[in-house]
Symmetry: C2
Subunit: 155 residues, 2 copies
């Protein structure tokens, strides 16, 4: 598999795992915290935490020896997942807005709610369909190549 | 449920649906195109396409009357999901890079690969942990409020 999006999703593991990474980003670290937040069974949670540790997105740390208790904190790769959560947050806020959101993403300096925009770090151009496009990579199959070419030709 | 991230995920439906939106973003529109790209059963694909149509992310359009055939194109909300795909792409490329990616996201003007960065449209500040933070919203429960306050106090 050569699709970076699918590879990223494969490493994260499954649906719930995105919400575990969300909770970890919000500062939840302990098993019972994740469990209370997500309302899933201990077995499911343990398996998903294990997948995220195995993928290198969370690190397990012992915080109590007696009784033995671990906490789970984001690794560098786990922190790097944050833009995906911010993009999901922005999409949710703008297209399926809750009446009373449980979180707000704010600019630290001004304290105002942010309006997330993806740009290219180099050119500063927004990464919208007007300025950026997907092109076939070296391993694109015929189906993908044809779809992208048709799409780019039409735009 | 008041979490914009969870609401966004709920609307999208499930894991595979992200890959359907990816394919639609790449310009695939027809049932057999999605099926060939994803390698899932016709029943699963039909159900997931239905979920995405119901959620308002895809629109079904008849392109042939005899035999009756539909295609699926992104709605405005479907197009608005693109930043999530771009963020997943950037995360995949930087942290789990395929040897030969099947797609490249390029700046249209220069043709060079982009380096995606999330900023606040208003202030121009990057939305990294240094410049932006999640705060409890009006409906945050005690667990989330405590986690965010501990996290923001520690940073």
């Amino acid at each position: 598999m050569n699709c970076p999006i699918a590879l990223a999703l494969e490493r994260v593991g499954e649906w719930w795992s995105i919400l575990i990474l969300r909770d970890a980003t919000h500062g939840i670290t302990r098993f019972d915290g994740f469990q209370k937040s997500l309302g899933i069974s201990p077995n499911s949670l343990a398996r998903r935490l294990g997948t995220l540790v195995h993928a290198g997105l969370l690190e397990r740390r012992r915080y109590s020896e007696r009784p033995p208790r671990d906490e789970y904190v984001l690794t560098e790769a786990g922190h790097a997942f944050r833009p995906v959560l911010v993009a999901l947050y922005a999409f949710g806020i703008s297209h399926f807005p809750p009446e009373e959101p449980n979180v707000r993403l704010v600019d630290k300096e001004s304290g105002t709610d942010v309006d997330p925009l993806l740009i290219d770090r180099l050119t500063g151009h927004p990464l919208d369909e007007e300025h950026a496009t997907f092109l076939p990579g070296p391993s694109a199959d015929d189906l993908l190549r044809a779809a992208l070419e048709r799409r780019n030709g039409a735009s």
